[in-house]
């Protein structure tokens, strides 16, 4: 049985193909989200990698912000459930999952079988989302992937107190004008994101091991800041970015059975 999960995010698209709900045959990530050719490209890339065609996929589940408009899916499942499933597959010991997406952030509690027990999501605000990091990286004039390494060199992180993205942007600009080091500003940005999202996790109650999911999990700066905020280690799998798509492919396997 071959199944596929496609995670149509707001800023990127991911696809995973599974055999029998166990073995990953292909994985693809494209930095373009819903409303762009990104989702289609992710799908094609994964199919090519696995040497398969669409008709050979027994069940395809779409998830993510653009799941309802993605053509050709057999089912759609919210990213809340998919991230929980995906992380459970990658890191079975995790019971709390923190996912920072392009335009939202969420904290989930999952069972020992990866089932969703509870969740909370951010309120309307870009603070604490991937978008916030994108905007700040732009102000610093560096690619967003570079933020993590940069912040690792920080000695005296600055404080970014505004949660409004526009205000925080001017705060960063004034730090730059005052001659603060880029690394210290990057560290301040990560702490700001981590604080917002850690508050979500604390609201739902942090249980057992904590894992981060989604593309932002690959930013070591955010992970370090999150660990500091929650005062515990954070598990990150190298495929964290694919967790949503992987969860969708796992659910597709359940459907196909």
């Amino acid at each position: 049985m071959i199944t596929m999960g496609v995670d149509v995010g707001s800023t990127s698209s991911k696809a995973v193909i599974l055999r029998d709900g166990k073995e990953i045959l292909a994985k693809a990530a494209v930095p373009m989200g819903t409303g762009t050719p990104g989702p289609g490209q992710a799908l094609e890339l994964a199919l090519t990698q696995a040497g398969l065609t669409r008709d050979q996929i027994d069940c395809l589940v779409a998830t993510g912000y653009g799941r309802l408009t993605f053509p050709g899916a057999d089912h759609q499942v919210s990213e809340v459930t998919c991230h929980g499933r995906g992380i459970h597959f990658l890191l079975p010991e995790a019971r709390t999952v923190i996912d920072i997406g392009g335009q939202d952030a969420k904290a989930l509690q999952i069972s020992d079988k990866g089932k969703l027990l509870n969740f909370v999501m951010n309120d309307k605000c870009a603070a604490g989302t991937g978008r916030f990091l994108d905007v700040m990286a732009k102000v610093l004039g560096i690619p967003v992937e570079g933020l993590g390494d940069l912040s690792a060199q920080s000695e005296q992180p600055v404080s970014i107190s505004n949660v409004c993205t526009v205000f925080a942007e001017s705060e960063v600009i004034s730090h730059l004008a005052a001659g603060a080091k880029l690394s210290d500003i990057a560290a301040g940005i990560h702490t700001s994101v981590a604080r917002r999202v850690a508050a979500l996790a604390l609201r739902i109650g942090v249980e057992g091991q904590v894992a981060m999911s989604g593309g932002v999990a690959l930013n070591q700066g955010v992970v370090r800041a999150m660990a500091a905020e929650l005062k515990r280690p954070i598990l990150v799998h190298e495929d964290a970015q694919l967790a949503g798509a992987l969860g969708a492919a796992l659910l597709a396997a359940e459907r196909a059975r």
Binding site: V61, L68, S78, V80, K124, R203, R255
Partner: protein
């Protein structure tokens, strides 16, 4: 829980004929239209008319035979019909910040224009304000009074830190009610007939009981009504709760609900897979989207704290009791313990599977306790919840996609719990 992929309808599929409205719905629509028209006519005859806050002791003006209209109802109606967008822009251009309640902004713009696409109200001769739901209302009504150069009657109720109103507070509010009676007598040139007042209070109590009964019939499982339907009857309680016509509407509604129960029918158009409690005001500009999304997942909203906000209890003729009732509101004027206790009771009574919290940008007083309310209610009942951002009357503060993701997430948790309850496995 997953969403089933919808099949495209065959091209020539005939349009489903619209279901005729139940008699009670027609009655409530006519009743509200009549109130607006009667007030316009009274003004034209030279009578004094007033604008009032929604939970003001209406009994007094009603007993004096004065015509009163309600800016909150006006704003909600305009928002539901997408007719307030220009008014909101007007208010902001006039200097009212977007952070101010959208009912207030709609109303303060209307104060300038005195023209809307519907729900038109004539210029008031007095305004009636009671701050038992929030203090912003006071400033809003002060502005109305100032701009129109008319008197404002304020009933200041003082927030309830204790479980129920103290005698001192009752005395304080009672004195204001006496003052109100004299003030309105003076303005209108009419004399209060205390027998008439007792009669209005009796009718109001009857209406309150009927409203509660109608609401409580939704505790039947599956519910005989789509809970969102009750939003359509709220004008009965907001604008007409001292009138015999409301008794007729609610008796008709209850008869219809009971008929549904007897026949095993419901106005909820799909199978009721989940029952939820809705916290906060409806998101009027997106009433359709919020409802349809719930319907898509088989979720019926069977209870809400808001619909019950008019559960004012007193003995007819007892003006101290009247004062106490307006202090001891079910919602905004009460401390966290009291509100949470009432909510927990309702969650059990209505057998809900989940709670949906509307984080309403406008209504700070309803939002400020919400995190703690969520925590306590979910802890006490074990019932999962989700929250979404929106606004009662400002169309710019809601995202359809974000709402749906949260609802779908909640469904997945509710489904999981249901499976555990039913089969003991996951």
């Amino acid at each position: 829980m997953e969403e089933k992929t919808t099949q495209a309808a065959p091209e020539a599929a005939p349009k489903k004929p619209k279901k005729p409205l139940p008699k009670s719905r027609i009655m409530v629509g006519e009743q509200l239209a009549k109130l607006y028209q009667d007030t316009i006519d009274a003004k034209a005859r030279g009578e004094k008319i007033g604008w009032s806050a929604s939970i003001f002791p209406q009994e007094i003006a009603e007993a004096l035979g004065l015509y009163i209209v309600y800016p909150e109802n006006q704003a909600a109606g305009l928002a539901a019909r997408h007719q307030s967008d220009d008014l909101l822009a007007h208010a902001e251009a006039a200097g009212y910040n977007m952070d101010i309640c959208s009912y207030a902004r709609t109303s303060l713009a209307y104060m300038d224009t005195l023209t809307a696409e519907s729900n038109n109200m004539p210029k008031p001769d007095f305004v009636l304000c009671c701050n038992n739901i929030c203090n912003q209302l006071t400033k809003w009504f002060e502005n109305l009074a100032h701009q129109f150069q008319v008197p404002m009657f304020l009933i200041d109720t003082v927030y309830n830190y204790d479980p129920c109103a103290s005698d001192a507070k009752v005395k304080y509010v009672r004195a204001q009610i006496d003052d109100l009676i004299h003030g309105l007598e003076e303005i209108s040139g009419k004399k209060m007939d205390y027998d008439k007042l007792t009669e209005v209070m009796r009718i109001s109590q009857r209406n309150k009981d009927l409203w509660r009964e109608a609401n409580e019939l939704l505790a039947v499982k599956p519910a005989p009504l789509a809970g969102f339907d009750l939003f359509n009857y709220m004008s009965c309680m907001v604008c007409n709760r001292g009138k015999a016509s409301t008794t007729a509407v609610l008796e008709q509604l209850i008869a219809e609900i009971k008929e549904n129960i007897a026949e095993g029918k419901s106005t909820f158009p799909v199978e009721e897979e989940y029952r939820v409690f809705w916290e906060g005001i409806a998101c009027w500009p997106y009433l359709g989207h919020t409802f349809k999304t719930l319907k898509k997942y088989g979720i019926n909203m069977v209870a809400t704290g808001y619909v019950n906000a008019w559960g004012l209890e007193y003995e007819p003729g007892d003006l101290d009791g009247l004062a106490r009732a307006y202090i001891d509101l079910p919602n905004n004027n009460n401390n966290l313990e009291t509100v949470v206790g009432r909510r927990i009771e309702a969650h059990k009574k209505f057998q809900v599977d989940g709670t949906i919290y509307h984080v309403n940008r406008s209504c700070k007083v309803m939002d400020c306790q919400q995190y703690e309310t969520q925590r306590r209610i979910s802890e006490a009942t074990g019932i999962p919840f989700t929250s979404f951002d929106g606004d009662q009357a400002d169309f710019r503060a809601y995202s359809e996609a974000q709402y749906e993701t949260r609802i779908q997430g909640l469904v997945e948790v509710m489904e999981q719990r249901k499976k555990e309850r039913e089969g003991g496995k996951d």
